[in-house]
């Protein structure tokens, strides 16, 4: 084929393959496909944000957010919360002695009683939290110091805990169960609540210790090795964490469903807190069937078995009583934030409306659907 001379080229273009047999039939057109995608002409929606579109949006946001904010704020305000510090950092605190005389080796339990008054009755279920401050549960060394396979009942992990657990991995030659810094520092103060009724007698308030941990943690993530029967055998060959007074299978001897790794206090503790000041659910005070409030106003005594030292790192311990709403515990932040954002939007809406009316007389329909 002689596609060479200039004339020949034009000729070929006009009558492809007519003059020469070599090129006939193999006329390859390189013409691009005329598809919408390749021509960048896909049908498209082209939204244009103008004052016209945004204006109603601002009003709508404002009108939705402000009521939500008010609702949140009111809800948060209706939540009753009582908080008391029982660290014993100050001399006038009943737990001062216990805090001062704390020693890891002492076998005797130091008990202190903190009295307080509830001004208002607490209706419905009341949740009892313990709160710690300046406690870095989110420190990296701490967070990773656990072995989830051990906690999931894996037998090999029970006897050979993960290296992450160092230096709380082995004690007295045998593996520690549960290993790691988190388990080792399990919060072990015992809190008991008494109501002092009008004639001065102490009525112990029943504290429910179930339902404080996430259901999935309790039933899936945490498992005892070899099921729940005879934990003493299951944990044979392991030693208790250094700072614990008793081994893991004696956390709740009465209830096999709450003993060992599936002890709810333990599970709650194992969910590391996000910030150095935190609270964790301790007990639930069930609503009474009668109409009397769960915690009527009046005087109360908090009996603390003081086992947990925090003063060495300048920490604080609190006991918190709180009711709960649909939004959780008391937190005015959300309500205020919603009201603020809602008001800003509304305000902007007004400003934009003024601008719109003053400077922009064009009536632009904004979203032009295709």
């Amino acid at each position: 084929m002689m596609a060479s001379s200039y004339n020949a080229k034009e000729e070929d273009a006009n009558h492809p393959g007519a003059a020469n047999h070599a090129g006939a039939g193999v006329v390859k057109s390189k013409k691009p496909d005329n598809t919408a995608f390749k021509q960048q002409r896909l049908p498209a929606w082209q939204p244009i944000l103008t004052a016209g579109t945004v204006l109603p949006a601002f009003f709508v946001i404002g009108l939705i957010f402000i009521p939500i904010g008010i609702g949140l704020y009111v809800t948060s305000n209706n939540i009753k919360e009582f908080e008391i510090d029982y660290t014993g950092a100050n001399i006038d605190n009943p737990c001062y002695d216990c805090a001062k005389n704390f020693s890891w080796n002492s076998t005797a339990q130091c008990v202190c009683a903190v009295t307080f008054t509830l001004e208002q009755p607490f209706e419905s279920n009341v949740f009892m939290y313990y709160g710690l401050s300046n406690f870095y549960q989110n420190h990296r060394r701490y967070v990773k110091s656990r072995d989830d396979s051990q906690l999931n009942g894996d037998r090999s992990a029970l006897m050979r805990p993960s290296k992450e657990c160092e230096p709380y991995r082995t004690g007295e030659g045998s593996p520690i169960a549960p290993c790691g810094a988190i388990a080792n520092s399990l919060f072990n103060d015992t809190l008991q609540l008494y109501h002092i009724d009008s004639n001065g007698t102490l009525n112990e308030i029943p504290l429910v210790k179930k339902g404080i941990a996430w259901w999935t943690d309790k039933h899936v993530k945490f498992r005892n090795p070899g099921g729940n029967n005879n934990l003493t055998v299951a944990f044979q060959g392991t030693s208790k964490p250094v700072n614990w007074k008793k081994p893991v299978f004696e956390l709740d001897p009465e209830d096999p469903e709450n003993n060992g790794f599936i002890n709810e206090d333990f599970i709650v503790w194992m969910r590391t807190a996000a910030l150095p000041t935190f609270r964790k659910l301790y007990r639930i005070i069930q609503k009474k069937p009668s109409t009397t409030p769960t915690l009527p106003s009046g005087k109360y005594v908090l009996n603390v078995t003081y086992n947990y030292p925090v003063l060495s790192f300048d920490g604080r311990k609190r006991m918190i009583l709180s009711t709960i709403s649909w939004m959780g515990g008391k937190n005015p932040f959300l309500g205020i934030a919603y009201i603020t954002v809602g008001s800003i939007c509304f305000f902007l809406g007004v400003v934009l409306l003024i601008i719109h009316h003053k400077y922009d007389n064009r009536n632009n329909s904004a979203d032009i659907p295709n």
């Binding site: 013409k31 498209a44 996430w214």
Partner: protein, 1159 residues
């Protein structure tokens, strides 16, 4: 004889480096002399980079030489060695992915290369060995082998043509795959080689391999029994290059002289130098900023960590003791590893994925150019071609356009318009008006006579018919089927009949298409055709004889004695012919400037007027001259030419000297005018480019008048444009020394154009719009070299400076009479001037290659002057008019897309990492990650990568039609406007704002972590998950807000990414993963969703983050009317063909002046 050979041997030894000697057919020249065949490389072509064995190490080494990859490797190694917060997997996995994908891609490409190599290396060839034909694999060819090649086969190595099946000892070759020129080139056998190759005993002495395709010097010594060895010179016309194809010739025999990697084709195989776009430079600058942010973050954290640890009880409380190893480590070493840990924790701020996404965007995005049917030219049946995808966005940044004239602004479709013989103007109108087709429109006023003498006319036409290198096309059936001679005769007869019809009966000339001419330049074809219309038909060659058919239907035969080839320096060509009557004639045609000094001066004036008038009308003019050579003169010239052709060294110079000597004392016969029509929409395109704020410079080799008229026609110069001329003519006006005059003129123009002009506002409004007085600047090659290479150093730089400043203040600049290298020089000068503007060169010919390579963006036009420009360009388009869409629509969109892509990437990683940084203040600076490892890894790979990729491929913030209609929109993004520090600062600020908002919003929510309605509390992983959820939604919706062009793909990808995030989180948290050490996220996401507060805070934070953005959009919105509507085009899917393969041509860089354009 022995002594002579000895000398030669010694001589060869001395010049071992620059010549080699080869025995044809391995027959030693002398039997009694021990001949040690020198070692040459074999004929194996290796274009592949790797072998199976070295692939892994070599490829990895190549990849890690990239600074980004190396950085990520370091981060990975730090993670492996030092105890870091995130597992090595988080950075190892993406890096591994990137490396693997690249390795697979490169491996595949290399496999293709291996395959191609094998195909070439295993190709069977015929070798003549002791009279037998032996089939061999191509790679087994050795230097000195005699090969036989059949028609339409490609040559397996560089050959010296020994024997051709054609009678005239020539063969035809196309070098389409070498330099893209598809015309047939004639090559000649070595004279006096015997017909019987078996008995040929010869050695070839030639230069060592060198890459220039069009240069070759060698000598052949032919030994005959009982005779002195004959010496024949070898030149490029004897050399058949590997890669070119034999055409129109049945078989040839040749001897291999360069093989394998030493062939000229292989030597030309080299990559183009990498061009980097301005965007890439911006990315690197931003990277540096982010690297600083990264390092300072790590430093701040490390410092604060040690300050904090110094407080009693904080470093190691009883509940969180250090391991023995930590206690043992040296404090300073610990500080260092802490620093590294922080670096690792924050390293996501510089993401691997950005490089991958940018690469993908560029690669995929470039397809839209190839796919664009507006670039499809039905004439050549081709669309645009993208040779590099690295520069897509640069198309949106062009400030200077350098364009060639011939073939770019003009069509290079030559048409003979008129001629002037002996001062009389002849214009061809129609065959019918005058009996012999001549029509004198107007002659010189003072002449009574209206026509030049018939004798002169005929001489002129004969000159046109003889002085060229055109060949008559042979029709394929005849050429292939029958014997050569028959074919030729048939055709001659046919043409003769045509000629008869025209002249004898006064009929219309036969359609031009029937007569095929093969020439390397369209001018020549136009001239031959022009002569044909006046009755003189060129019938073709018959061995060394040229046949022409005169007006009187006589076939005249001329023996072609010598062709004095065209070259751009001489700017003319000549032939020496001997007529039947025995007269020896020299015909010469060339540019007026090169002819006028060589003819008798009294003839010049009459013709000069015509030439200048034609030139102003935009025609290409050539002057034709002749002279009679008497026997003595001829013998002298003949000897000189032969001697020069035989010279082994400096052959070019010697030839040139002889040419100049021969081409003197001629008499001028006339001049021709050939029209080169403007390209379609050339003026509109130029106007649009100027409207877009680009400055258009025309760089041409053409003469000033022609170029000027083209500029006017293209509306580069307007009627009110004041022209500042700096040419040889203006320099000579003053009558003083040129240097002084140059100095004076430069200063004068400088005063005019720069100082008196209103101050030019920088940036968007440029000179074009602000100056109400337009200047055009004209300079020619000679003056330019004076400006650039002034005698004194200080003057040189000063002149250059002045020149640049004048040029920058002119609307358009015309540089005429440019040599190819001068074009590149100008481009380079502008490129390196203040503000380093982005330059674009566009051209179609070999003479534009240098400037195409020099400019930031090189555009080739798939024109008629071969394909070198296309091969060397970054983008190739069929027509000049396509440049408008390429720049204004594609370039603009690509720039906006990639600029947004880059800014968005930095933004999204800043607000990704900032909460992590802030979290350190709440976790005792312990490098605790806020997010789970899976989120850290997947954020850039899966959750947020696809929407931005889709955006960066599909976004049309302004639709194409509007962009094309309003060229001024292009100025909005000039000077890398979207990637300046201002916008970068804005995006960074936005990222910081979002990061702060996410972190502290959730922080205040976690003031009371009891967020569920059953009183249960959330831990640190819930915290991170809430922040991460807000983050993913915000950055995706931010992109959604920026998207102005929602196709279904955008919808799919944006909403799909969000859905995927939710789905993944459920999935990831729904299973106890056996391979994970910690089940951190077990049901965290599900629990989060069960909390109303978490929902509320997520919604609030997303809205609050986007609020300022929405406000800005509203306030910033231009009041302009555009942003029109894109109507869906339902195409009548008429496409047949997938886009062309993007395989790179083997020859990336060739430069040729073969293209025989008479400029």
């Amino acid at each position: 004889m022995l002594r002579r050979r000895l000398n030669r041997w010694l001589g060869r030894d001395e010049r071992r480096v620059d010549s080699r000697s080869i025995c044809v057919g391995h027959r030693s020249s002398s039997n009694n002399e021990a001949f040690i065949p020198p070692k040459f490389c074999d004929n194996r072509i290796v274009s592949s980079k790797y072998t199976v064995w070295n692939f892994l190490p070599k490829n990895l080494f190549e990849q890690f030489r990239r600074i980004a990859n190396f950085y990520f490797l370091i981060i990975f190694l730090v993670q492996v060695i030092v105890d870091t917060p995130t597992s090595p997997v988080t950075s190892g996995l993406p890096l591994f992915f990137v490396i693997t994908v690249t390795a697979i891609k490169q491996g595949y490409e290399d496999w293709l290369r291996h395959k191609a190599d094998n195909e070439v290396n295993k190709y069977p060839v015929t070798v003549l060995e002791q009279g037998r034909r032996v089939r061999k694999e191509s790679e087994k060819i050795k230097v000195g082998d005699v090969l036989e090649v059949d028609e339409d086969e490609t040559f397996p190595c560089d050959l010296i043509l020994l024997q051709s099946s054609r009678d005239d000892d020539t063969c035809f070759v196309t070098t389409a795959s070498l330099d893209g020129e598809s015309n047939h080139k004639t090559h000649y056998t070595v004279p006096d080689t015997e017909k019987d190759l078996e008995s040929l005993n010869a050695t070839i002495e030639c230069e060592q391999p060198q890459p220039d395709l069009y240069k070759f010097v060698g000598r052949m010594h032919i030994y005959k029994t009982d005779q002195e060895p004959a010496v024949r010179s070898l030149g490029p016309e004897n050399l058949l290059l590997k890669g070119s194809t034999l055409k129109n010739t049945q078989t040839i025999c040749g001897v291999a002289i360069y093989t394998g990697m030493e062939t000229k084709m292989a030597l030309n195989y080299q990559g183009k130098s990498q061009k980097r776009s301005a965007v890439e430079k911006s990315i690197n600058a931003f990277l540096l900023v982010y690297l600083c942010i990264l390092v300072s973050k790590a430093l701040v954290c490390t410092t604060l960590k040690y300050v904090w640890q110094n407080k009693p009880g904080q470093d190691e409380p009883w509940y969180n003791e250090k391991t023995q190893r930590e206690k043992d480590t040296n404090l300073y070493l610990k500080m260092f590893t802490d620093f590294l840990s922080f670096m690792v924790l924050f390293n996501f701020i510089i993401p691997v994925s950005m490089y991958v996404t940018v690469e993908m965007q560029k690669f995929l995005g470039s397809f839209f150019i190839t796919w664009d049917k507006d670039f499809f030219d039905p004439e050549i049946k081709e669309g645009a071609l993208v040779n590099t995808s690295d520069l897509n966005e640069e198309l949106g940044q062009v400030e200077y356009v350098f364009t060639d004239k011939t073939g770019t602004l003009t069509q290079n479709n030559m048409e003979f318009i008129e001629c002037c013989i002996d001062g009389f103007q002849y214009k061809y109108q129609d065959a019918g008006t005058d009996l012999d087709g001549f029509c004198v429109t107007d002659g010189p006023v003072n002449k009574v006579q209206h026509k030049a003498g018939r004798e002169k006319e005929e001489l002129f036409l004969r000159a046109l018919c003889l002085c060229h290198t055109v060949q008559v096309k042979e029709s394929p059936e005849q050429g292939q089927g029958q014997g050569q001679r028959d074919g030729l005769m048939d055709q001659v007869d046919g043409l003769g009949a045509d000629g008869l019809g025209t002249d004898g009966e006064g009929l219309h000339p036969p359609p031009q298409e029937q007569r095929g001419f093969i020439a390397s330049s369209p001018d020549e074809v136009a001239l031959v055709k022009g002569a044909m219309r006046y009755g003189f038909t060129f019938l073709g060659f018959e061995s060394k004889t040229m046949k022409i058919l005169t007006r009187d239907n006589d076939v005249e035969r001329y023996e072609l004695l010598h062709v004095l080839n065209f070259d751009p320096v001489r700017r003319r060509m000549s032939v020496i012919v001997r007529s039947k009557s025995g007269d020896t004639l020299l015909f010469c045609k060339g540019a007026d400037s090169s002819i006028f000094p060589r003819v008798r001066q009294e003839e010049v004036e009459r013709i000069r007027m015509n030439v200048e008038r034609n030139a102003t009308e935009g025609y290409r003019t050539l002057c034709v001259a002749y002279k009679y050579l008497n026997a003595e003169e001829y013998a002298q010239a003949d000897a000189g030419l032969r001697e020069a052709r035989l010279a082994l060294q400096d052959r070019e110079e010697k030839l040139m000297a002889v040419y100049n000597q021969v081409e003197t004392g001629m008499s001028l016969i006339g001049a021709t005018a050939v029209e080169d029509r403007l390209q379609e929409e050339a003026a509109e395109t130029m106007e649009a480019l100027q409207g877009a704020g680009m400055k258009v410079w025309v760089l041409t080799g053409d003469k000033m008048e022609t170029a000027k008229s083209t500029c006017y026609a293209c509306r580069l110069f307007q009627r009110n444009t004041e022209l500042l001329e700096l040419t040889v003519r203006t320099l000579e006006d003053g009558g003083r020394r040129r240097e002084e005059r140059l100095h004076e003129l430069l200063l004068e123009y400088y005063k005019k154009a720069v100082q008196d002009a209103p101050p030019v506002k920088a940036g968007v409004t440029r000179a074009w719009s602000s100056a109400n007085h337009d200047y055009g600047f004209i300079i020619d090659g000679a003056t330019l070299s004076m400006v650039l290479n002034s005698s004194s150093e200080s003057n040189s730089s000063r002149y250059k400076n002045l020149f640049l400043q004048i040029c920058q203040n002119c609307t358009s600049v015309l540089c005429c009479r440019m040599a190819p290298l001068q074009k590149a020089q100008i481009v380079k000068m502008v490129k390196n001037s203040k503000g380093s503007p982005i330059t674009l060169s566009i051209g179609d010919g070999a003479n534009d290659v240098s400037m195409i390579l020099e400019a930031h963006v090189g555009i080739g036009i798939k024109g008629k002057e071969g394909r070198q420009a296309v091969r060397n360009s970054d983008y190739a388009i069929p027509k000049l008019k396509h440049l408008k869409k390429l720049l204004l629509a594609h370039g603009h969109l690509y720039y906006v897309r990639i600029a947004h892509l880059v800014q968005y990437f930095f933004y999204k990683n800043l607000c990704f990492i900032l909460p992590q940084f802030l979290y350190q203040f709440f976790c005792g600076y312990s490098q605790q990650p806020l997010y789970d490892a899976a989120y850290l890894t997947m954020y850039n790979i899966c959750f947020t990568s696809m929407p931005i990729l889709a955006y960066s491929l599909l976004e049309q913030h302004i639709c194409m039609e509007v962009l094309l209609d309003n060229a001024t929109l292009y100025r909005g993004i000039a000077k890398n406007g979207m990637l300046q520090w201002g916008p970068f600062f804005y995006w960074t600020l936005l990222g910081v704002f979002h990061g702060l908002l996410f972190f502290f919003g959730v922080r205040y929510l976690f003031g009371n972590p009891a967020l569920q309605d059953n009183g249960q509390v959330f831990g640190n992983w819930s915290y991170g998950t809430i922040v991460f959820t807000v983050l993913v939604f915000t950055v995706t919706l931010k992109l959604a807000l920026d998207t102005r062009h929602w196709t279904w793909i955008n919808h799919f990808v944006i909403w799909g990414s969000l859905a995927f995030y939710v789905f993944f989180s459920f999935f990831w948290g729904g299973i106890i993963w056996p391979f994970l050490k910690q089940q951190r996220l077990y049901f965290v996401f599900a629990n989060m969703l069960s909390s109303v507060s978490a929902w509320l805070v997520i919604i609030l934070l997303i809205l609050l983050s986007l609020l300022p953005e929405i406000l800005l959009v509203v306030f910033r919105k231009p009041r302009g009317p555009h942003t029109g509507q894109m109507k869906p085009v339902h195409s009548s899917a008429g496409g047949h063909q997938s886009p062309r393969s993007s395989a790179r041509p083997l020859l990336m860089r060739t430069f040729s002046d073969e293209s025989n354009t008479v400029i």
